[in-house]
């Protein structure tokens, strides 16, 4: 931790911070997480820090971010009128405990994991039901990732969880890329064909290390056309750079920035629980996917990615941005904050809700989006800030050089050990070949011996039969003396016996002769086997190599952190320079200075010093429109009635005390089902495939203005907003109700006046006038953005 000369902050905020400090415990570790995060963020700030927002902004913001929609006018009003000091915390806890949170985060996680892919094996409603239940059960987030990796759509895990794999067709490159991005925050796409040319730490080996976990996985189609996940027990990742022609024949599984997962030797013929065959889904004894799931939560990069993605969900932008662009030259805006959040994620056992709660309680989250003014900042502080940052940079750069050097050294060491290991393993090759050859030679002579042995046995059988016949014939001749024919026959048989005995002797000699080479071959085989066993025993133990790799990986992560610290500091220094430039422009060229200031405001927004304007997601927009216009009101009782009409076991079997909560949860999910139609209309028009890039299109505006979807919500009915407003005589009261419903705030005087004037001109057609006003404000920026 380092401290810099604190920039001057707006007075109101400074006082608040001082007051807060006086009642807080002295040791940083004892402070609540949100306070610790704020202190890190504020100490990394360059330039003004905006104060926290007013209650109206807060209630709308937190409703949108935790409940996925604007608050009902009544809720907004009572929050504004609530005078308790702790009301923000109370509201946060109330929303986090409500099923709104489950519904909203179901949609948010769905977009994050599936990125609006079209449905294939598992339909979106099933997947969302799975996510909803997962969240409702309060399970840790790492468990979700594990389930997505291990689910096979038939035996292991809920079938819906297999959507992650199946709807990507289990295609190894698609899975490698998306697991790299979504699980580890690293888009390794470029590293599929070569080490990344721009990003120093994206290696081809990293891509194939990850790919090795999934390349044995494929889709299995059952006879009735159900897609399931299959896995084989063989298949290795191999690659060659298109540039350097270097590569690996067998890249073992290894998660990004993690260590190799070595595999237990498998005896030939017993690799499977269910062996592959026609129309059979193979199941290996040793599943590489299961291995990935097993090592996931221990991966530093996985933890860091999950922490950053949770930050991004709450704040609208990751500390590392884009969220799949983790690398040393793309530093977190405040690396210390990300490190702390990552540690806490692990300490809190991947409890999503607990982290979200801390984040919405930060000042960083609660800042106003109103841009600071130049006069609120004391430019005189820049000089000392620059000095201290420059000095700090030197220290950090030296540390980075050292970390780079150490890593380079360990890297060489590990590389040498790996080469040695590969070489020694290669040395086994001739011995293995010798064993195989000896096995083959032994097999050949043994087979020959078997042959002559079989021939001898046959001869012996024949001889025995003829010997017996000869003796019987001899006895017959003695019993019937003088029978010439009989005597002749007996003599012939005796003659045959002699011949056969000679042949048997010959066969026996052959056996004797064939036995010797077999013995010799066996001796040779044993020698070869012994040599191989000895050489294998002489190999350095896997543990030694693995320990070295662990060291190298730790040094690499250390290096990345050190490089990141320098890069993050450089950004702060650049910001100091931009501020100084602004100061010069201010005198020389006010127009240019104003533009510069706007750019600085955007930069502070990125750095959490000013709140962003976040465009509502397609889902937030659809639900907020329905909430604000009152279209949502009749939906909730309908959902409740539907659940009660056909109560699921979950409800009937619940303990009496639990029943209201279960009912509430089931109703919220039913509501989501009911609203899927309109939500999908908005998703089709307003959503981006990746889900996070704000786009405004003429198509959207045409829809908003001319399609009946929005217009239908503005028809007066059932006490909805337009009906209520139309019946309200007093324009001021009308304005107040309208602004609370849409913006969770009361209108200012000039807004009230504008509405009063608009209505005054339209006494003959008040309904139309009200519809025009409501439409106009729904279409306005203030509604479209979370501020």
């Amino acid at each position: 931790m380092h401290f810099v000369a604190a920039p001057i902050r707006p007075v109101a905020f400074c006082l608040g911070a001082l007051l807060a400090l006086t009642v807080l415990p002295a040791r940083a570790e004892d402070l609540p997480l949100h306070e610790r995060l704020d202190r890190l963020m504020e100490s990394a700030a360059v330039g003004p820090i905006a104060p926290v927002c007013n209650d109206a902004d807060f209630v709308r913001r937190v409703w949108l971010d935790l409940a996925g929609m604007v608050p009902p006018a009544s809720e907004a009003k009572s929050f504004l009128e609530d005078s308790s000091a702790d009301k923000r915390r109370q509201l946060v806890d109330q929303l986090l405990a409500s099923p709104h949170f489950l519904r909203h985060y179901t949609l948010v996680l769905d977009v994050g994991l599936m990125e609006r892919r079209p449905d294939k094996a598992v339909k979106t409603p099933e997947f969302q039901q799975y996510l909803y239940d997962f969240l409702a059960a309060g399970k840790p987030l790492d468990e979700l990732y594990r389930e997505l990796i291990t689910a096979d759509g038939v035996q292991t895990g809920p079938r819906a969880a297999a959507r992650f794999l199946l709807d990507r067709d289990c295609e190894p490159n698609a899975l490698t890329r998306d697991i790299g991005r979504i699980f580890f925050g690293r888009d390794l796409q470029c590293a599929q064909c070569h080490d990344h040319p721009i990003i120093d730490d994206y290696y081809q080996a990293e891509y194939y290390g990850l790919s090795a976990f999934v390349l044995r996985t494929s889709v299995f189609n059952t006879k009735d056309k159900q897609m399931q996940v299959a896995e084989k027990a063989d298949g290795e990742a191999s690659f060659q750079s298109v540039f350097t022609k270097t590569g690996s024949d067998r890249q073992l599984p290894r998660v990004p920035l993690g260590t190799t997962v070595l595999e237990p030797p498998m005896e030939k013929g017993s690799e499977y629980v269910v062996a592959p065959a026609k129309e059979v889904r193979p199941v290996p004894k040793y599943s590489r996917r299961a291995q990935l799931a097993a090592v996931l939560a221990d991966s530093d990069q996985f933890r860091r990615n999950v922490a950053n993605r949770i930050w991004a969900l709450v704040m609208g932008r990751g500390l590392v941005h884009p969220v799949d662009g983790h690398h040393a030259n793309n530093p977190a805006t405040c690396p210390e904050a990300l490190t702390l959040l990552t540690q806490e994620l692990v300490a809190r056992k991947f409890d999503l809700k607990s982290l979200v709660r801390e984040l919405v309680l930060t000042r960083t989250y609660q800042r106003t989006c109103d841009p600071p003014k130049p006069e609120q900042f004391d430019f005189a502080t820049l000089e000392s800030l620059e000095k201290s940052l420059t000095a700090e940079r030197e220290t950090l750069a030296a540390a980075a050089t050292k970390a780079n050097f150490e890593r380079e050294e360990l890297g060489m060491k590990w590389l040498a050990a790996t080469e040695e290991r590969t070489k020694r393993q290669a040395e086994l090759k001739p011995l293995e070949v010798a064993v195989a050859k000896a096995e083959e030679a032994h097999g050949k002579v043994a087979k020959a011996l078997d042959g002559v042995k079989t021939a001898l046995a046959k001869q012996q059988e024949q001889t025995a039969a003829v010997t017996e016949a000869a003796a019987k014939a001899k006895a017959a001749v003695e019993k019937v003396p003088g029978d010439k024919v009989l005597a002749e026959a007996a003599a012939k048989i005796a003659e045959r016996q002699t011949a056969l005995e000679a042949a048997t002797k010959a066969a026996s000699d052959k056996v004797t002769a064939a036995t010797k080479p077999v013995e010799a071959a066996l001796a040779e085989l044993n020698t070869a086997r012994e040599a191989l066993a000895k050489a294998r025993a002489a190999l350095p133990a896997d543990e030694v190599w693995l320990a070295l790799e662990r060291e190298e990986r730790a040094a690499l992560r250390n290096r990345l952190a050190a490089d990141e610290a320098v890069a993050a500091l450089d950004k702060r220094l650049a910001l100091v320079k931009s501020l100084q430039e602004f100061k010069q422009q201010q005198a020389a060229n006010p127009d240019l200075a104003a533009k510069s200031w706007d750019r600085l405001v955007e930069e502070w927004t990125i750095r959490g010093q000013v709140a962003p304007l976040k465009g509502l997601s397609a889902e937030q927009l659809a639900l907020s429109l329905m909430q604000a216009t009152g279209a949502l009101d009749p939906q909730r009782p309908a959902a409740l009635a539907a659940v009660q009409k056909k109560p699921p076991e979950e409800l009937t079997k619940a303990a009496e005390a639990e029943k209201p909560r279960v009912l509430e949860r089931l109703t919220e999910h039913k509501l989501l089902e009911q609203l899927r139609g309109p939500i999908n209309v908005f998703v089709g028009l307003y959503a981006d495939a990746a889900g996070d890039e704000f786009q405004a299109t003429a198509n959207q505006a045409l829809f908003f203005g001319n399609n009946n979807q929005v217009a239908s919500w503005l028809n007066p009915s059932g006490g909805n907003l337009v009906e209520r407003l139309t019946k309200t005589e007093d324009p001021a009261a009308l304005s107040e109700e309208l602004y609370l419903a849409l913006f969770a705030r009361r209108p200012v005087d000039d807004e009230k006046a504008a509405i009063a004037q608009f209505l005054a001109e339209r006494t003959q057609d008040k309904l139309a006038a009200v519809q025009e006003i409501v439409w106009a404000l729904l279409a306005s920026n203030e509604f479209r953005f979370n501020h």
Partner: protein
């Protein structure tokens, strides 16, 4: 063990600089907001460049169009005819096209290594070999993003179709997805509903603008500007709705282009291009002639030839051709071998497309197939090269990258480049 080399291709160098740039560089990039990248924007000249892509669905036969092989075992029954370019012959099924050939060029050496409809359609229109886990934007989305001027009232990426398939915009986002003129009709929701008088709309739009002005007093960003102006764009589009109405064209032109669907769609395309729409694609079906290849090509090309040639001629006469790139493409070509049903099957190994207009050498023939058209023997190219060539032809440096929310995407396949000898 840091990466000590690079692709050697230009875009890596470009993005490395952009990437390693200081915060100042970051600020400059930010200033462009959600609009066009400065590097790309700087390329835009004062003259509006446009692209017309005609997609012949099903896979048109190269032998019955651009690369006839008379008198060979694969040639089929049709004769080649002379064109307005001395020494260049095409199939007799394209007599009108032959007369405007001096405006066009032919590439006879495509080997796209694919015989699958879906894949061919994606690869030819995105210029990329399909990669699992990654979707690329359609040529129309790329053209719209790079060629649409600021405050342009009409959509930048228009697809005239009878089947409603859309041109995907992938990472470029919904702003650049195709606006479909299904059956040649105006875009959906572009008509003000009957129960919404224009005066009402004007009043509420004014009130919206006032509310936005008030909010801008709090905070104004590139995104709030983009959202506010999307409503203005919608209004402009509605005001210019007649641009989509082919009935506004003269009866004589209706006659010249033909009353059939493709004729009307070509006339509509002319109307759109005249109004500076940066990208228009017209689809024509159905060329999947596994049976009776020759009869079907008489029929389909009989429909294609005259309106296409009329459109080329009109664009040239009106001075639009120098800024309008024309391409006639397909998923793939058809087998030289004639099957037992007098059909030809899917074939990506040696086939042709036609390019012309802006930035393209007129009257050129690029590449060559062997005697009976079974293999490329000279200047083998594929969809990647075509994509680069088309973009370069309208002045877009296809070696640059898009910057989408901090992620870099090469505009075209970095492993490929343009067919430079075809560029004017």
């Amino acid at each position: 063990m840091r990466c000590r080399y690079a692709c050697g291709s230009k875009e890596h160098a470009v993005s490395r600089r952009a990437f390693l740039g200081t915060a100042a560089g970051g600020l400059a990039a930010m200033a462009s907001g959600v609009g066009i990248q400065p590097a790309v924007a700087a390329q835009l000249g004062s003259t509006q460049k446009r692209v017309l892509n005609i997609f012949l669905y099903g896979g048109v036969s190269q032998l019955e169009t651009w690369d006839p092989k008379p008198g060979t075992d694969t040639g089929g029954p049709f004769r080649p005819i002379n064109t307005s370019v001395p020494g260049v012959q095409i199939c007799e099924l394209l007599p009108h096209t032959a007369k405007v050939m001096h405006h066009l060029s032919i590439i006879r050496s495509l080997d796209t290594k694919n015989g699958d409809h879906g894949r061919g359609q994606v690869e030819m229109t995105t210029g990329r070999t399909r990669t699992p886990g990654l979707d690329y934007p359609h040529l129309g989305a790329v053209a719209a993003r790079t060629l649409t001027p600021d405050n342009f009232a009409l959509p930048g990426h228009i697809l005239i179709t009878s089947n409603g398939r859309s041109g995907p915009s992938a990472y470029l986002g919904p702003k650049y997805a195709s606006v479909n003129l299904v059956d040649g009709k105006a875009p959906v929701n572009s008509e003000r509903p009957a129960n919404l008088p224009e005066a009402t709309d004007e009043r509420r739009q004014k009130f919206r603008a006032q509310a936005n002005n008030r909010f801008a007093g709090r905070r104004r960003t590139a995104e709030t500007d983009a959202y506010a102006s999307s409503y203005d764009q919608a209004l402009q589009l509605m005001a210019r709705r007649e641009v989509f109405d082919v009935q506004k064209e003269s009866a004589a032109d209706q006659e010249r282009y033909g009353k059939h669907e493709f004729g009307q769609h070509c006339l509509l395309a002319r109307r759109l291009l005249e109004n500076d729409v940066p990208f228009v694609q017209v689809n024509h079906s159905d060329y999947d002639t596994h049976f009776e290849n020759f009869d079907f090509h008489i029929e389909q090309l009989g429909e294609f030839d005259k309106p296409f040639a009329t459109l080329v001629g009109d664009l040239a006469d009106r001075g639009l051709l120098k800024d309008t790139l024309i391409c006639v493409m397909s998923e793939f070509g058809r087998t030289p071998k004639i099957n037992q049903n007098y059909g030809r099957d899917h074939w990506g190994k040696a086939w042709s497309i036609c390019l012309g207009g802006a930035g393209i050498q007129p009257g050129a023939v690029i590449g060559k197939t062997n005697e009976n058209g079974t293999a490329v023997v000279e200047r083998e190219v594929d969809h990647g090269h075509i994509f680069h060539t088309m973009l370069q032809a309208v002045g877009v440096d296809s070696k640059l990258e898009f910057d989408i929310g901090g992620r870099k995407f090469p505009i075209a396949d970095p492993a490929k480049g343009p067919i430079s000898e075809l560029l004017a």
